[in-house]
């Protein structure tokens, strides 16, 4: 049995009495120590997927298990780095990380907790910003605090929900490097949600595309067999990188196109029938007058649908 397993998971949101399906029939298994990237369009239900694993929401159908135990609610053993950092703005860097440490290692001494907090702040190179509040930090620094907070709680699995998508390209590259380094040191199980295929390939062991929502489901996993450490400049010329990229992109773009087709369908016409007065203008002397044409006479239309 895999470390993290999602079996036949479906999830929808109910609003005004109608159920909007978001995820359908998700099957996913992740081994311990594995780094899996899930890529998909924005709005395809990526955040819903990570919230399911985090336990913030429960699936409508199916089961989510970690190490064989059903996930019934959120817990610090599944650390999560949110897209919008989610730091508490009234706490300093140190206090934000300490909040997690204090909560998870309750029976440690104060000195132990302090040392542990500082170790993780140092790990993300933020010791100079130890006493600063999130508002005084740049986006990249904030996300580092969020990573430190998640890791300091010593989670069994780390969930990264588009952690870098709000950052500029350069900061993004730096942080990608740092995430790769952290994974290399800790060999923690990580799930990265992203909309950037290159980022997914650069960091992960396996990259899985998520189809277009609503009703999104996972596509076939593509293993990334590029030796680590991966060099982000050299990787662009790696034939395996290109091949992986193609496979993922083809799937993501392919399903988008395949699902678009035209159908001819019967129309339910309204009671009020607009009349086409221009049709067959009758001559005033004609004996067989043809009246105005009722639009009801066209009973079919061609439409493009997404199914």
């Amino acid at each position: 049995m895999a470390f993290l397993e999602l079996k036949h998971v479906s999830k929808g949101y109910r609003s005004n009495g109608t159920l909007t399906p978001v995820l359908r029939d998700i099957d996913l298994s992740i081994e311990q120590g594995e780094f899996v990237a899930i890529v998909g369009y924005s709005g395809s239900g990526k955040t819903t997927l990570i919230s399911l694993i985090a336990g913030l929401i429960r699936p409508d159908i199916g089961s989510v298990t970690l190490d064989g135990a059903e996930i019934r609610g959120p817990s610090p053993e599944r650390g999560i780095v949110f897209q919008n950092y989610s730091l508490l703005p009234w706490l300093t860097t140190y206090e934000n990380v300490y909040l997690a440490v204090d909560q998870v290692f309750r029976n440690w001494s104060a000195a132990q907790k302090r040392a542990h907090t500082e170790k993780y702040i140092e790990m993300v190179n933020l010791l100079p910003a130890r006493e600063k509040r999130p508002a005084e930090l740049s986006g990249g620094m904030r996300q580092r605090v969020a990573v430190a907070r998640a890791l300091a709680a010593d989670p069994r699995i780390l969930l990264l929900d588009e952690p870098l998508s709000a950052l500029d390209a350069l900061t993004r590259a730096t942080l990608q490097g740092e995430i790769a380094k952290i994974w290399d040191q800790d060999k923690k199980t990580m799930v990265l949600i992203t909309n950037d295929v290159d980022e997914g390939i650069l960091l992960s062991d396996r990259i899985i595309p998520l189809t277009h929502g609503p009703d999104a489901t996972l596509g076939p996993a593509v293993p990334v067999e590029i030796p680590r450490p991966r060099d982000r400049k050299a990787i662009n010329h790696d034939p395996h990188f290109k091949q992986t990229r193609h496979q993922v992109m083809d799937f993501l773009l392919g399903v988008g196109v395949k699902h678009r087709k035209t159908v001819t369908r019967k129309l339910h016409l309204p009671d009020i029938e607009p009349e086409d007065l221009s049709y067959g203008k009758p001559s005033p002397f004609s004996l067989f007058r043809r009246g105005p044409l009722r639009s009801k006479e066209f009973k079919k239309e061609r439409v493009e649908t997404e199914t």
Partner: protein
Amino acid sequence: MSKNRVNIDWLVLPMLGALGVIGIWTLWSSMPGTNLPSPLKTWEVSKLYVVEPFEKRGELDQGILRFTWYSLVLVAKGYALAILIGTPLGFLLGLSKMFAKSFDPIIQVLRPVSPLAWLPLGLVLFERSEPAALFTIAVCAMWPTVLNTAVGVRSVPQDYINVARVLKLSRVKTLFKVLIPATMPYMFTGFRLSLGIAWLVIVAAEMLTGVPGVGGFLWQEYNSLIYEHIILCILTIGLVGFVLDRLMSLVEARFKSI
């Protein structure tokens, strides 16, 4: 140039405005048949109370700041009561949908009731004038705190709550580490508005109960036909209210900057 501009905006224009009002006041008081004292006369009659603001010459004859002090103490007590009741009530309204649905209508009905209506009920309930005044201040000043706190609690971002959930913070810890700090700016807006109302209510409460203070003094001087002191009291009440509001917005700004 820009410094001159600031001087005009902050000094010259307000002074022109004040002079205009004093001008109208002078004109009105010089009309035949009016009881309105002129600005000069007001100053002459009030001078003793202003230059010796803390003097106590008798129970009903004290310096204006001494009266103000009595009023401030009473307001502080009533206001503290309003905050102590209003904040938890706001939290309950914000946290529990059921509680909100049960009590929102009654709050909407009680909120617009005038202090003049509450005071007699206070007298019936407590039978003495000071607790009745406190009751009136608390009941009237509570609502902005209640409603702002409730709105603040409802608008705590889901992200912060998710952080608390992922860390499995206890209910008490979630309240003190997440909900209260996140609601703080809203709470302080409520506190500031509440203080304004508390100060508004004090005059009415003192007038009706005869508790010594700036409002009681105002009513007593009206009965003694010393109309100059009415104006003195109005100006004092206004200035004190203004200063209180400024002070509270300084505190509020400190909490909003976080």
